[in-house]
């Protein structure tokens, strides 16, 4: 289970005994287990191991730390410790508070470094060495897609953490992977009506877009949502990821005739470009007789702290926010806040929910087998996890639920109180045909590893 576990098991002795030419010629000996195993990492003892793969170094380390807190809390609740959090509000729930299928939940952690290679290496360690049966976590789409592909190959379940790109459950969807978080299409669809209501139909938008797949996808969704409402797109400029200083991209906005700036940036890029755009006086400007506005399609409270006062009054969308007043959200905030002294971020929320949903799917099917888990999760309808009625769509393993449109608080009452929910866009408005994004799930991989 850990590096201080020195015992030589039978499997290892077999391997070592076979080293040499003969072993090379018949390598199947190495991967066949001495025991029969129905599927990869089938739990045999009294516990089951989950792998939590989060960024612990790099730009998203704080987000990763918050995800890890949520995972630990979820494990606690699953094992029947603590106040139970959202287990009490989750329905229909098969969770019993005695672990999963009677086995105590244990976990291993790893560092994705927000790099595909490191994330895959870390996930592989969990699968090959620690015997993890499910991998969760992550803070970017590149990592989510990379780890999802790996889990498909290895035959374990992947419950995606924070990943917002359409591709995760579109072009790159996999039968063994599930996403609770929303995507760029839903952000656009949810923001469209609000932007029309607040800023009118006659607007000229200028896009600054992070130059990689997520950025392009976000730009496309925002353009669809705004252009269909009569907005015009003056320009859409791609900016290098991690540009730091965005001044050379912001000054052309000043005299472009645009009256809205849409920042398709996330994380540090968002913090920097938003801070600097506000410094350039964009928000004090009058263009075409209207107030100049800035929109940030994907808002994360944790990252928004870095932009300070610049986020005040700015619209964006988010998967969940701790200020929600429903019973489930309040139960979660109470449980999380009591444990760690701060409210959970949306990344923490999605990771907590994913862990519960996985455990519940195992209980429903009465098995840890990926086939059973996938079957239970596909088309699963539930409520009481903070987003209202939600469904895991069978066609693409994407959760469909209401989407929150938020605005930066003008007068925050605490350093956590940065966003206020202005609109809950109903699920029907953000739903789309599963075929729209392409890709195919392929067969479930439930083979022994």
């Amino acid at each position: 289970m850990s590096i201080n576990d020195f015992k030589l098991d039978r499997r290892l002795l077999m391997k070592s005994g076979l080293i040499g030419g003969a072993a090379l010629a018949t390598p199947m000996h190495f991967i066949k287990d001495a025991h029969a195993e129905d599927f990869c990492n089938m739990p045999k003892g009294k516990s089951v191991t989950l792998g939590f793969n989060v960024p612990q170094t790099g730009a998203y380390a704080d987000e990763g730390a918050d995800e890890l807190r949520a995972f630990k809390l979820a494990v606690k609740h699953l094992n029947g410790e603590g106040d139970g959090g959202m287990i009490n509000t989750f329905k229909p729930s098969s969770l019993k508070g005695n672990g999963i299928l009677g086995k105590k939940v244990e976990f291993v952690t790893g560092d994705t470094q927000t790099k595909s290679d490191a994330a895959r290496a870390s996930a592989k360690r969990m699968i090959e060495k620690d015997g993890a049966i499910m991998i969760s976590g992550g803070s970017s789409s590149g990592v989510a897609i990379a780890v999802q592909g790996l889990c498909q190959e290895a035959g374990v379940i992947f419950m995606a953490g924070l990943t917002h790109s359409n591709d995760t459950t579109g072009k790159d969807k996999r039968a063994n992977g599930f996403r609770h978080f929303f995507n760029t299409h839903m952000s656009g669809a949810a923001l469209g009506p609000v932007l029309e209501k607040e800023y009118g139909k006659d607007r000229k938008a200028y896009h600054l877009t992070a130059d990689y797949t997520w950025g392009w996808s976000q730009e496309k969704s925002m353009r669809q949502a705004t252009e269909s409402r009569g907005w015009k797109t003056v320009a859409a400029v791609k900016t290098p990821v991690g540009a730091g200083d965005f001044s050379q991209y912001i000054t052309p906005v000043l005299n472009s005739g645009a009256d809205v700036l849409i920042l398709n940036h996330y994380g540090k890029d968002m913090v920097n470009s938003l801070t600097q755009a506000v410094q350039f006086g964009l928000r004090d400007k009058q263009v075409n007789g209207k107030n100049f506005e800035i929109v940030v399609p994907l808002f994360s409270r944790l990252m928004a702290q870095g932009a300070g006062d610049a986020i005040k009054g700015i619209f964006g969308s988010t998967n969940w926010n701790w200020s929600l007043k429903d019973a489930a959200s309040q139960a979660f905030v109470k449980s999380f806040g009591a444990e760690y002294g701060a409210p959970p971020s949306m990344a923490a929320h999605t990771c907590y929910v994913q862990t519960l949903l996985y455990a519940n799917a195992c209980e429903m099917g009465g098995t840890f087998s990926p086939t059973g888990v996938v079957k239970s999760l596909e088309g699963f309808k539930f409520d009481g996890l903070g987003n209202g009625p939600t469904e895991y769509r069978a066609e693409d393993h994407q959760c469909f639920k209401d989407v929150l449109v938020v605005q930066g608080n003008e007068k925050p009452t605490s350093k956590f109180d940065l966003l206020s929910v202005v609109e809950v866009t109903p699920r029907s408005k953000v739903e789309y045909d599963a075929k729209m994004l392409g890709g195919s799930l392929g067969p479930v991989n439930a083979k022994p590893c």
């Binding site: 850990s2 070592s16 991967i31 380390a61 560092d111 290496a121 592989k124 790159d172 990689y212």
Partner: protein, 396 residues
């Protein structure tokens, strides 16, 4: 004398081969005996050996070697997508492509020396990285990384209306009538290349690469490279044109990098742009210096150490620490966990940084010097030999 050194080299090679093949057992006490990490040890060992051929022998410090690794990875995945899931064509093609790429960059960069050379290689690698991440997405699939996909439906392949990023052809496999379910995995004539078989494939190549590096170091070509390191001007005055030798060393070293990039794709078929970033180039520099630049075994040791920290130390969390210190009384245990927690898990970078400093301060020749100090002291006690000879020999 010559006979003796030949024998020594042979022994070194055999011991190295034995240790590498027995790594799954030897590394078990450290918890590092699982296929993925063993593969990484071997792959980055090859990368560092190749880097050392350039840096260790000629003294030219390339700060853009990750570009060749990245190119090797992309080339391999493209072969998997277009030709066959068998790894042999992919490995060969990658080594050739990265060799060509290295020739182009080396030809230009080697017009300068010293820091100017380093910055030229860095600039080329950073351009490759930035373009691969954004503009070259049709070839590299950008941030997501180039992946193996399902076969394109045959009717569409015939119409030439396919998106090769998202749909594969595998012409050779198809010609041989291989049937695929879902997304296939890489193989060596039917042996799947993940897990332990993948490690042994990499291990054999690591041993071959190591043997090749001994041969190069001992050859006339190697002698010339060392001469360039000690005094390039003097060589120029004697009328020897050093550039062809340097370019050759650069290309060989680039091909080693391409091979390791290819093996990364073989054991795990996904190629991302971040493999080419300067941090990746810096990593191989650190590996080589940490182990001992110019030594034969040092770079492999350095690579192993860094990958070990990255994968094992980052995985230790408070729960694990609680287990480690379970023998301590409660209060003391909490304190021990809190202090150790700074250095593991999310703090693994801190440990790595401290390790770099400690090693370079106390062991100017890298890990190999530490190794020699220990063996040297041991032998001195046994034979009372002079230490000067000891420290000179194995360092080559």
């Amino acid at each position: 004398m010559n006979q003796g050194s030949l024998f020594k080299d042979l022994m070194l090679f055999l011991v190295f081969a034995g240790v590498v093949l027995a790594a799954p057992v030897l590394l078990a006490p450290l918890g590092a005996n699982y296929p993925d990490l063993l593969q990484k040890f071997a792959i980055f060992g090859i990368f560092a050996i190749g880097f050392n051929i350039l840096f260790g022998l000629t003294g030219y410090l390339s700060f853009g070697h990750a570009a060749f690794l990245g190119v090797g990875s992309y080339a391999s995945v493209w072969v998997f997508k277009l030709l066959s899931m068998n790894v042999i064509p992919a490995v060969i093609f990658s080594v050739i492509v990265s060799g060509l790429f290295a020739f182009l960059i080396g030809f230009v960069s080697l017009r300068r020396s010293g820091i100017y050379f380093s910055i030229l290689t860095l600039a080329f690698a950073q351009m490759s990285y930035n373009l691969a991440y954004s503009v070259l997405t049709p070839i590299t699939n950008g941030e997501t990384g180039l992946q193996i996909r399902q076969l394109a439906p045959s009717d569409r392949a015939a119409d030439y209306v396919l998106n090769l990023r998202d749909e594969d052809l595998r012409i050779l496999d198809q010609a041989f009538g291989v049937v695929e379910h879902g997304i296939p995995i890489t193989n060596l004539f039917g042996i799947k290349m993940s897990g332990y078989p993948g490690f042994y494939f990499c291990a054999v190549l690591l041993i071959l690469a190591f043997g090749l590096s001994i041969l190069i170091a001992r050859s006339n070509f190697g002698m010339m490279l060392k001469a360039i390191k000690s005094n390039q001007n003097r060589l120029s005055y004697t009328g020897i044109n050093t550039r062809p030798y340097l370019i050759a060393a650069f290309v060989i070293s680039g091909m080693f990098a391409g091979l390791s990039g290819s093996l990364l794709a073989v054991t795990d078929p996904l190629a991302g742009a971040e493999r080419m970033q300067w941090t990746a180039s810096g990593e191989v520099v650190l590996m080589t210096i940490l182990g001992g630049a110019g030594t034969l075994v040092g770079p492999v040791l350095g690579a192993t150490l860094i990958k070990f920290f990255e994968n094992i130390f980052s995985a230790i969390n408070d729960n694990v620490l609680q287990g480690v210190y379970s023998f301590l009384p409660d209060g003391l245990r909490e304190a021990a966990v809190a202090v150790s927690g700074l250095f593991v898990g999310s703090g693994w970078h801190l440990t790595l940084g401290l390790l770099f400093m400690i090693i370079v301060i106390f062991l100017p020749g890298g890990l190999m010097q530490g190794f020699e100090l220990i063996t040297g002291r041991f032998k001195r006690k046994a034979k009372a030999e002079t230490p000067s000879q000891q420290s000179k020999q194995p360092a080559e």
